[in-house]
Symmetry: C2
């Protein structure tokens, strides 16, 4: 699992053995069971996540209903907005599958970044890349019909359709579960 | 205008006179007329923008229709995804009002960041903050009805409602112009 993380980091910066050891010594690897809640609404947190294996879901509870807004799978990193804004979390983070993740702490990151300025560069590059990716996702969501959103998903993240429950997928796509069923039936019909 | 920029930067890092002079010497300030197109679909670019005064709009042209996805006003910074991904732009960027902006180049940023590592820290902090803000906006969009989205806008960015044409505002909110008119009428009626 360490090597998976180092391969990911190598996309941004090259690490010396000393730097690799510094990362390992921080004890950031966690094995988490399906259903584990990593962050609750109202909770304060300093933790960022990176998924090595498995699937993590972000969701809100609004009027008693769960509204899923994001799924993070292999090689995806994220920091809940509450960590950056130093406010209580507005959403939940939970494991949709048994997962292996890294959990890093904001204070720890400041320490590592001051010791190895190279990590500062990696964090900047990664944040810029995630910002661009999220902008494209948001724009696509805004400019697409529910059917186009589902077709985009088939193209961009086909694994999600198999991996996560349909009602979570529906709210992730901003549509009602019944509409998702009808929409899927329509697409299958068109293609047959 | 320089002081507005320095005040913004001071939220992230403190600048020496030498560093301020380094910024000024880069000649990044631009005065741009309403209607100026800064970036076109299909164009490659290395430019990031920061709005000192005015309003900049990002929009796609899909099946001949303009679909507005973002407005950037005073003290807002953005880098089009095509700059980060080194791909042709998928959208247009244009000035909705006469504006004063800074335009900075990716190569210039690399040079400045290597000379003044402090700027690297600022870029990371700013990207993280924008990423968190955009995540919240995206989640709100996904979990809200059109009416809630409009009410959110009244609360969060009331100036936009006065500043930009209604048809642009409608597509920004992901609704049809006629629906926006009806929705506004309904809200006015409820409040009277």
């Amino acid at each position: 699992m360490k090597n998976l993380l180092f391969d990911f980091i190598a996309k941004y910066i090259s690490l010396t053995e000393e730097e690799k050891n510094a990362i390992i010594s921080t004890d950031i690897f966690r094995t988490v069971k399906k259903g584990t809640v990593l962050l609750k609404e109202g909770q304060k947190s300093k933790e960022s996540y990176f998924v090595l294996k498995g699937c993590i879901r972000a969701y809100y509870v609004l009027d008693g209903d769960e509204k899923t807004t994001a799924f993070y799978t292999e090689m995806e990193a994220f920091t809940p907005p509450c960590v950056i804004n130093k406010t209580p979390s507005e959403y939940y983070v939970a494991c949709t599958e048994d997962s292996i993740i890294t959990v890093s702490d904001a204070d720890m990151e400041v320490e590592i970044n001051s010791k190895f300025p190279k990590f500062e560069i990696m964090c900047r590059l990664l944040s810029e890349e995630l910002l661009a990716k999220q902008r494209i996702d948001f724009d696509e969501f805004k400019t697409s019909s529910p059917e186009q959103r589902y077709l985009n998903l088939i193209q961009k993240r086909p694994d999600l359709i198999q991996r996560v429950p349909q009602h979570q997928l529906a709210s992730y796509l901003g549509i009602k579960p019944q509409s998702l069923s009808r929409l899927r039936a329509r697409i299958v019909e068109k293609r047959s």
